[in-house]
Symmetry: C2
Amino acid sequence: MMRTHYCGSLNESLIDQTVTLCGWVHRRRDHGGVVFLDMRDRDGLVQVVVDPDTPDAFALADKARSEYVLKITGRVRQRYAGTENPNMPSGMIEVLGKEIEVLNTSETPPFPLNDEFANVGEEIRLKYRFLDMRRPEMLQRMRFRSQVTSKIRNYLDRHGFLDVETPVLTRATPEGARDYLVPSRTQQGSFFALPQSPQLFKQLLMVSGFDRYYQIAKCFRDEDLRADRQPEFTQIDIETSFMSDEDIMNIAEGMAVELFDELLGIKFDKFPRMTYAEAMRRFASDKPDLRVPLELVDVKDLMQDVEFKVFAGPAKDPKGRIAAIRVPQAAEKLTRSQIDDYTKFVGIYGAKGLAYIKVNDLSQGVAGLQSPIVKFIEPIVLELLKRVGAENGDIVFFGADKAKVVNDAMGALRVKIGHDLNMLTCEWAPLWVVDFPMFEEVGEGQWTSVHHPFTMPHGTVEDLKNNPAEATSVAYDMVLNGTEIGGGSLRIYNPDMQKAVFEALGIGEEEAQEKFSFLLDALKFGAPPHGGLAFGLDRLVMLMTGATSIRDVIAFPKTKTAECLMTQAPAPVEGKQLRELGIRLREKVGE
Amino acid sequence: MMRTHYCGSLNESLIDQTVTLCGWVHRRRDHGGVVFLDMRDRDGLVQVVVDPDTPDAFALADKARSEYVLKITGRVRQRYAGTENPNMPSGMIEVLGKEIEVLNTSETPPFPLNDEFANVGEEIRLKYRFLDMRRPEMLQRMRFRSQVTSKIRNYLDRHGFLDVETPVLTRATPEGARDYLVPSRTQQGSFFALPQSPQLFKQLLMVSGFDRYYQIAKCFRDEDLRADRQPEFTQIDIETSFMSDEDIMNIAEGMAVELFDELLGIKFDKFPRMTYAEAMRRFASDKPDLRVPLELVDVKDLMQDVEFKVFAGPAKDPKGRIAAIRVPQAAEKLTRSQIDDYTKFVGIYGAKGLAYIKVNDLSQGVAGLQSPIVKFIEPIVLELLKRVGAENGDIVFFGADKAKVVNDAMGALRVKIGHDLNMLTCEWAPLWVVDFPMFEEVGEGQWTSVHHPFTMPHGTVEDLKNNPAEATSVAYDMVLNGTEIGGGSLRIYNPDMQKAVFEALGIGEEEAQEKFSFLLDALKFGAPPHGGLAFGLDRLVMLMTGATSIRDVIAFPKTKTAECLMTQAPAPVEGKQLRELGIRLREKVGE
């Protein structure tokens, strides 16, 4: 090997030893007739001093510039008293460079990679990703990601899971997002789809008797990208046979517990379990951030006779919800302008306004309240405040609308206020949310799967047929700090139940055969009880590293318009390639 | 968990214990008024006996059929003397079944999955892959594959390699095979390419300072498939910085040694190294099967004055080769009809015939030889036989043609004879082949890369410019039993050398910029010396498991026409999807 040590690994135990380093010039400076080179490699930085006593080395050090690649041999020595740098692990020592070889030079990078890096636009970082990833912060994140997958694999290997690769060139899968298509050359007019998940394949592996499967799998969705989405993303995909939902949750929870303990030193207690119904009631979210100690209180029943139409409408609408959030001791902390901002904030989620009551002095009754709405709800306002447990100094916010709007708006507001007022009670709050609705109404009598059509419902085939709206699924999401990091379910393994679910979804027998005949076949030949889950790796690593964008934990991410600024993908191709595939470009209107 | 033990894990240590099993009915038979069920799960088989003393269980066992999924609770007991089955690990015991739950029934499978499986066509196996993989042989192979990747990851993790994911939706890569394309919806008229390898990305990761990278990566090539190719295949992809070719080979060899030792108990010695030139000279192959103790001997010089045109032409052609293979003591083993078959065999590789000499009795001189060609080469035949070291009872075969034809034909014949005559000297013969030619002539003065255009040549930029035909690369292939299982090279990290190589290949500056601008950019900003290699995982697992087809070590493979018979991919898609992508199908002629 060219080097004897990594720069970042040098410390006082090596004093007086001769070492050889290979790395990049992170920063170079002259001082008192000698050259100081901060040399950087994967492990960190070390200071190299080169003085004129070694004229060859000195001449090269003198000419070296940022990002030159050098091989340096020298002696480790204690730094002079007063020049130590306690902020770097190698800060107590330095290397007196004796021999230098310039392995490569460098033009001046388009942005600085050392401490001078600041306010560099993401576009240029993505164009020069190979330089951006030199920054210790980025390299450290990618290294952390590698440790995460290694620990996960280790855990799953130890628990008897088999790593099986499923196809990337495959058939459209049932997740319902838009597929990426790949034209077939040998069967012109036909297309492969890139998998949105290995869902069907992992179920088939259970039918094959693999018993415990995992894969860290690339998945693909051609959707308009939100800030935290990528067209290709990575899933920790797990499936098991002959296990209950409890068994599966325990295995997955064990994995998360081990991961956080070994990589971050964080000890989790047993994760709380909460039904979807409870999560929506108390936190207006199916992925509640339990670090925030605020809860919703339902007050619809109190509003039945109120005339104020903001409340009266939702109070009488079976699909309406009226809920309050009491923010303790917020009256002094929140200014009028902040409350106005919150009104705008809930507007993003479709709320038409944000009613609130400042509780100044309950001993004065209604007179002790400050609010634009008190006058409209005077008859019940004190009972209302009693219901929510209001005390002097609190502010109580209200949401009243269709339940969906109230949940979206108040669920988000709850989290925002919690963060704004530094109310977080802990750093990490994991939980399981279970028993999701089986179906979601998308139109009058039109239902879609909340998870996917292979999710097992609670109860019998008859129960499902009699009351699909009330059916809940044996599904579970792992939620951390308000983010869903994983989710799954038991799967249907009985052909009759599968048929009933397709019927409820309005998927006819023909369509089911056309799309999923191989899975329906598989259910006929002795499918075992099975279930599993999948974690979003990118999201998980983002949370664990404290990165603010998913792009910062992916080596070569794409932009929100699904482009790679470095390789310029996608790109035009030659006509010959299209002809071979039996396709042509659609003429644009006006051309 | 539903089960207490896997079927295959039961043994005498559990006698008298109550166990619960979950699995499939592998075989069911009645005998003497009781029902015998061979129950199967991932770990193997166990015999369950159910007798009429437990009427509920007996009734269910009686109705159970092949591939029913049962949960059985019972007591482990010693088998009666004389009924043990030493061929199965659980063969000394059986389970007396007390309680049975039918978890699922099964229709009769389209082909038997137990010992009755034989001569089942691959097409039906692929259509019902989820059943085919239930067969213990298949499941065992997939499990072995999982162990291979686990061991490899473990080795590379221990050696400081970081697992980094590179994009699947990317730009055309330089391997030169046909790309799979993915139309972009957001940039209509542009296409992503699926990577033929992560080559450029792994080099960029070295430029980023990752130092040691690996990935078990899916790669894609849209080529007409040969028997042992798949449109998507898996590569163990490795790249390192600041290492010599020797360092890299040592790391990779260490991985192979550990893998074979831990999974197969095979101890490899240090792998021999052989230059490409030597491999071609002695074995007429750049991936010689060293288990076969036959070698080529060049005899072109002896043929210079021979008039027999079969030899005279190649003897005078600078691109000709004339080589002999002596097969010791084959005169009695090979019949005339076998020799005729060999003549046909070399014809596959373009040879126009197969000359041979049977050495009956050298003491009789030419009269002791039996051969259609002796009369044409009488003046030199004894010297020729001396050169090849012929002894009484040998057969000597000759190839004479363009060197390429001789190498293809005689290289293959050498291996075929070695196998036919059971001459293999060992079970496993690994080696490194090194110092490949840099370029291959594809037309007069037209050169292509033997590896890829980023491969580092030996020598200087000047050497390369002065004599590209003679340039050799710092490249190395790991060969096992005549199969290339891995290969790689040091890469060019100097922009001038990269430019010289592009020039030698006739790649103009514009084309280079257009295709690889990001890599050329990367070389300007302090690229470190780097190199790596890649192993073909599918091929490696095939060799290690003794499978005869690569499809038998891939869970869901495609056919030679790149179809998945199970999912029916590729498939037609809706016109709406094509419109969104800005493409249309090309009308077929006559439509």
